[in-house]
């Protein structure tokens, strides 16, 4: 790893939000050549503008409505190394990772930090850097364009962490399904964070579905080493008319991982799209999902499930922007917060003036298990059209005492009964998963998570070196 160009500037004392930003600005200024040489022209073309904008606006502060629950600057403050000279980190993913989904035939892609390892060619899938060389026109047409297509994003501009990603991202994944085609198997992307020193990873994913295309994509995040990781991820998704996409994101890292993921999606007409975000184990996670429904009669389902304990912090921030009429959106997020965990959910549904006949439903349910855990929920409706059916509901509560009592009467121990109820609580989200084998696997993982046995699968090296023992799952 010493051979790597681990570039970092010493951390200066914190003054407002400016100093965290300046270490990245300086780094970019000094290493611009290196960053560009490790990437491709299409990606390099937008770097300077992004950095310029970042230098002007810096990191978002807690005073900004969309960032009120996560202090971005603090997460970006430590001194991380970056693998700018693209040194291959020696890793055999098959050796270290075997926790794939049984009974599910998938095409597997390993992403070590941000570099894809394609063992055999998979149709429609390539590394972003390679795609820039093979199909520069297609990448140029879509790369970094989502933010300008989604009106609510272009109004305010992207956040600081997105700009940083655009400035520093050198590689990532590119999925392009041409018109009328469909992927034979679901695509499973296993992101493995691997580094001997504290590391910042900027990963970029670009998914383009042309008219009538179909795809199922599963993105899993894992951390192999116990050092601190900071990942920024920007996923841009373009769904043209009549396309179908199921996108799953699963995070299973450790408590010193910080993840900033931004999903930006535009959906054409007559599409059926689903997005499932599952946070099983993490440190600090901020997931932003912005979806613009630009074509008529499309349907979007967004589900999320969070299990957090210790001092984990999960912040889900979603926006569904109904621009075109007659679209349907369904959103369901569930969260269990234990110990000193913080869970935030802010979902905004925006129905624009012309989006008549919109049907929208947003639900957020939370369980707060201790008096030190904290739950924030903020389901928002912003409606400018009159012929719509919109509703939202959110709850924060405790396990149903009557159900607990009922089960105890029937000889189920209280701890077990609690576990069953918690499983059932988040199970509602898992049930929305369309792939049966994945659904079973997730039920299994969630159950293990609540039992505090997530690190005991012993299937691979990945699960072994957790820095601290996992809690025994309160009440379990």
């Amino acid at each position: 790893m010493k051979a790597n160009e681990i570039v970092a500037t010493p951390l200066s004392p914190r003054r407002g939000g400016g100093d965290e930003a300046s270490q990245y600005i300086d780094l970019y200024a000094s290493q611009r050549e290196l960053i560009c040489s490790g990437s491709a022209p299409v990606m390099n073309a937008v770097r300077d503008a992004a950095m310029q904008q970042f230098a002007a606006q810096g990191f978002p502060t807690l005073k900004e409505e969309r960032y009120r629950y996560t202090d971005v600057a603090v997460a970006f403050a430590p001194d991380y190394g970056l693998n700018l000279s693209r040194v291959r980190i020696p890793v055999n993913p098959r050796e270290v990772f075997r926790c794939d989904v049984p009974n599910l035939s998938t095409d597997l892609v390993y992403l070590v930090n941000d570099q894809p390892l394609l063992e055999k060619p998979i149709p429609y899938v390539s590394s972003l850097r390679q795609a820039c060389i093979d199909h520069p026109d297609i990448v140029a047409k879509y790369y970094n364009k989502c933010a300008s297509v989604i009106p609510s994003l272009s109004e305010k501009g992207p956040g600081g962490e997105v700009l940083l990603n655009t400035a520093f991202a050198q590689d990532g994944l590119f999925v392009h399904v041409p018109r009328g085609e469909r992927m034979n198997h679901p695509l499973q992307v296993i992101n493995i964070l691997r580094s001997p020193v504290d590391m910042m990873v900027n990963r970029r994913v670009l998914i383009v579905l042309e008219e009538g295309a179909e795809a199922t994509i599963l993105l899993c995040d894992h951390a192999m080493d116990t050092v601190s990781f900071l990942t920024t991820q920007v996923i841009e998704v373009f769904c043209a008319d009549r396309s179908r996409l199921d996108l799953y994101e699963l995070e299973e890292t450790h408590t010193s991982c910080r993840r900033f993921s931004n999903l930006q999606m535009t959906v054409g007409s007559d599409c059926v799209v689903s997005h499932n975000s599952i946070t099983l184990y993490n440190g600090l996670t901020r997931n932003t999902a912005d979806v613009a429904l630009t074509g008529e009669r499309s349907e979007i389902t967004m589900n999320g499930c969070v299990v957090a304990d210790k001092n984990q912090h999960v912040d889900n921030n979603t926006l569904i922007d109904h621009i075109a009429p007659s679209c349907t959106s369904r959103e369901l997020y569930k969260c269990v917060a234990d110990d000193e965990a913080v869970s935030a959910f802010a979902g905004r549904i925006l129905v624009r003036k012309d989006a008549q006949k919109t049907s929208s439903k947003e639900t957020n349910n939370n369980l707060c298990a201790t008096d030190t855990a904290r739950i924030y929920t903020q389901p928002m409706l912003e409606i400018y059209a009159d012929d719509v059916q919109c509703s939202h509901g959110s709850t924060v509560g405790v396990l149903d005492q009557q159900a607990l009592f009922y089960m105890q009467q029937r000889g189920i121990a209280e701890a077990e009964a609690r576990l069953l109820l918690k499983n059932a609580f988040v199970g509602q989200v898992i049930e929305q998963v369309r792939l049966q084998p994945l659904r079973d696997r997730l039920h299994h993982l969630i159950d293990k998570r609540f039992r505090g046995e997530l690190n005991k699968c012993t299937g691979c090296a990945l699960c072994e070196p957790h820095p601290q023992p996992l809690s025994e799952g309160r009440g379990a």
Partner: protein, 516 residues
């Protein structure tokens, strides 16, 4: 009973007030047969804001502008003790260090705080203020007549005590004697500062400190007058207390300050109603209402707000930037806010409750109507600190024309608020596709035994219900009135009788001409 009969029964209830209105009007016009309900609706819809008149009273207005000297001058004019002057000055210095907030879903115009006069005294000519009804300026009395406040003996029949605030100085307080027999204090806050300094000093700023927000700081620095209510222990206030606020002199902001203290085991119901004359420039209204509820006491606070909303082009109108908060300090104390908001160009108002007494209960019922270019960002805060506290939020928003109507509410459950419960429900109704209806609920829960629920819906007026009414010969305008009143019924039912009637009329008048 058949289904048909059932429906008939449902209809006959709300339809009643409509026909009553019409009858009353027809009698007055002496033209009972000619006027159809459509004509009536059209006439009302075209009607200009009927309370938009200006009373020509001699007013002592100080020069425009705001600085420490103005604060000192206001304090001096009111003959205030030094501690209150210091309170004002501290607030003023804090205000100077702050910026006007911009987080609301509002397009707040730039307010030139130096272009406003901060004090106007309609009774300045009379040295000691009016002593009897005859002492009151006849013009002022006429104003109140036009507003329909029965300040004289008529009051006895309605059983209401009115502390009429015109501009900044309390003109006349009625029924004071009857109230004082029971030890109830109901007077202007300036009088309270003179007569009951200890009480005022103990509670003033204890619920809404001047550091609370920008407009609270401004109010704390320059508040001119307002009402003070103190209900002694174990006393049930025999009548509903009521204040009428009205902005009169041109370009004077109204900065009232209301303080209500309900001592152990007592009960009071307080009404506040607002109308303001027509003006072209925006008028600033930054009030503070503080309510303290002690052990086993209950306070009911009702507002009908009908300030001038600006014309149909969105010119003028009152800026209503108000901080209202109740502190439920005592065990099992109760506080209920009910508001009907139909006026103001901009409403920025969050009547809140801090539930720190164990077992305390708070309620918030609100109907907010916006039409033309009105903007409202209103809601509540329920801050649960004590054990077994409960809160209910029912909010109904109605938006029409080019208006924006937002509900913004916070439910916070602190770490020690075991068994806290909250239920929030906010519905929005949209008329036309040029307006907006928004919901921004915030929940922040830190206790494993607490339950908080929020639900909201947004939809347009139900076509089936309209058709059903039309089929039965009820015109669309009347049907809208019926449906809206039914929609807002949960809230209107919580209003005291006199207000409920007024509110129902207001809703109808505010929305006429929006459908069909």
């Amino acid at each position: 009973m058949s289904d048909k009969d059932l429906n008939k029964d449902k209809l006959s209830g709300p339809a009643q007030p409509l026909s009553e209105n019409r009858n009353a009007r027809e009698e007055r016009d002496g033209n009972a047969s000619a006027e159809t309900s459509n004509d009536f609706v059209r006439r009302i819809a075209e009607q200009k804001y009927q309370f938009g008149f200006t009373t020509d009273v001699h007013t002592e207005v100080i020069d425009r502008g705001l600085n420490e000297d103005v604060v000192r001058l206001i304090s001096q004019k009111k003959g205030e003790p030094d501690w209150l002057l210091q309170f004002r000055l501290e607030a003023f210095r804090y205000w100077q260090s702050q910026e006007q907030p911009s987080w609301g879903h509002l397009r707040l115009p730039d307010i030139d705080y130096q272009d406003i006069s901060y004090y106007a005294d309609p009774t300045a000519r009379k040295a000691d203020g009016p002593k009897t009804l005859d002492d009151i300026d006849p013009e002022v009395m006429k104003t109140f007549d036009k507003l329909g406040i029965p300040l004289e003996e008529r009051l006895a029949l309605s059983g209401t005590a009115v502390d009429a605030v015109m501009d900044s100085v309390s003109v006349k307080t009625t029924f004071k004697e009857r109230l004082s027999e029971r030890g109830i204090i109901f007077c202007s806050i300036s009088e309270a500062v003179r007569e009951y300094p200890d009480l005022v000093r103990q509670y003033l700023g204890s619920v809404v400190p001047y550091r609370d927000n920008y407009f609270a700081a401004l109010n704390s620095a320059v508040f001119s007058d307002g009402s003070f209510v103190y209900i002694p222990k174990n006393t049930r206030c025999p009548m509903e207390l009521s204040t009428y606020f009205r902005i009169n002199a041109r370009n004077t902001g109204q900065f009232e300050r209301t303080l209500i203290v309900c001592d152990e085991g007592s009960y009071v119901s307080y009404l506040e109603g607002c109308t303001a004359p027509m003006r072209d420039e925006n008028q600033l209204h930054a009030a503070i209402v503080e309510i303290v509820v002690l052990d086993n006491a209950k306070v009911k606070y009702s507002t009908v707000q009908n300030w001038y909303p600006g014309d149909s082009e969105g010119r003028g109108g009152v800026l209503n930037l108000v901080t209202k908060r109740g502190h439920l300090r005592g065990r099992n104390s109760r506080l209920s806010w009910t508001q009907v908001e139909t006026g103001s160009a901009i409403t920025w108002k969050y009547p809140s409750c801090v539930l720190s007494g164990d077992g305390s209960q708070a309620e918030f019922y609100s109907v907010a109507v916006t039409n033309n270019h009105q903007q409202a960002d209103t809601g509540t805060k329920m801050i649960h600190l004590g054990r077994n506290t409960r809160s209910t939020i029912i909010s109904k928003g109605i938006s029409a024309g080019h208006s924006e109507n937002s509900y913004r509410g916070l439910v916070r459950v602190g770490r020690h608020a075991d068994g806290a419960r909250n239920y929030s429900s906010c519905d929005s109704l949209l008329f036309g596709n040029l307006c907006g209806a928004h919901t921004f609920p915030y929940m922040d829960v830190q206790n494993p035994t607490a339950t908080a629920e929020h639900e909201a819906t947004t939809s347009k007026i139900n076509e089936d219900q309209l058709l059903y009414c039309n089929q039965r010969g009820i015109s669309t305008e009347d049907a809208v009135g019926l449906i809206v009143n039914g929609y807002a019924k949960d809230v209107l039912n919580k209003l005291p009788m006199e207000f409920a009637v007024e509110a129902q009329k207001l809703l109808q008048v505010s929305l006429e001409g929006t459908v069909g």
